[in-house]
Assembly symmetry: C2
DNA sequence: CGTATCTCGGACTAAATAGATCCGCAATAT
DNA sequence: ATATTGCGGATCTATTTAGTCCGAGATACG
């Protein structure tokens, strides 16, 4: 279950990775190996998850030497929701299977024209969750970090200032 | 995922079962077998899930002939959140593992006194989700059903009017 | 008051999904 | 030309979910 019931660990990884990439100078990149080293994470698995962010259009990647990942657009235009849904999908946690139409208690079709009341309430909760995450951009996150954080991140992540 | 990311099928089952139990006359019960027949669900597995609601204090069960399940309190005092969290746990979907303190980029302890900014934003989204579900009671659900629904449910579920 | 029956309760077993890893291919800058 | 990097597929393992079973306890009836 948002058993949800539980988000995978990689969600935390990618939120932090995106935050770090947002602190690089415009155009600069960091490789999957550098990010894995920066957070002490298993490099192969992290690389695979980063690809999901590229497919979702949140990051852009360049291959070859001195290649790596960078934000695909300005930090103010990337929300936490986009990152989270890129990692573990945008599907609704609660999936209505219309059990109201099965069994002895099956409702007549005319009462099933509109969406099930319970499904509607669950969908409303999901909308509230999404709206909360959609209201926070990476720029908002950076604004809450200490002033010296970006330079330190650049130094430790890419080895350059 | 809440993995979320995906909620188990039983969540839908129990939301509907609780709604049906809320339509019975005060004190009346319905057995697991009756509920399973009413929705055409596997009886043993449904019984197992109903026990979770009993443990959570949402339902109360009586054994013996003519026993079964009933609401543990008034429908207006049972929220969708209580049901959902009884089924698949009340844990936060996003679990912060403090990767900010690991690897080359490990932050000094004095910067980790307060909660990680990303974890706080994710927790805020979860609070929004919970608040949405906590604002809907079973009585609210019943109010949106057709006027003739309760009598029909009683008839088909327990065989009595 | 005893007995038989009906109910919940928890333990146990399979199946599916997600987590995690590895290896070969394509692309690019040096 | 070579080395480095991302990309995708195939694979293996582990956790969760789905489903089943049998025993303990309580109630109603004789």
């Amino acid at each position: 279950m948002l058993s949800i019931v539980k988000l995978p660990v990689s969600t935390e990884w990618l939120l932090h990775c995106a935050t770090s990439l947002a602190q690089l100078e415009p155009g600069a990149t960091a490789s999957a190996a550098q990010l894995a080293d920066y957070y002490d994470l298993p490099a192969p698995y992290l690389a695979k998850q980063l690809q999901a962010l590229v497919r979702a259009g949140v990051l852009s990647a360049t291959t070859g030497p001195r290649g790596g990942f960078r934000l695909a657009r300005a930090a103010s235009e990337i929300t936490l929701l986009q990152i989270v849904e890129a990692v573990d999908g945008a599907s609704t946690p609660y999936e209505c299977r219309e059990i109201r139409r099965q069994g002895r208690g099956a409702l007549p079709p005319e009462e099933c024209r509109s969406i099930c009341v319970l499904a509607e309430k669950m969908a409303g909760a999901h909308r509230a969750w999404r709206a909360s995450l959609a209201g926070v951009s990476l720029a908002d996150i950076l604004a809450e970090l200490p002033a010296h954080a970006p330079e330190r991140t650049r130094s430790r992540l890419t080895g350059r200032t």
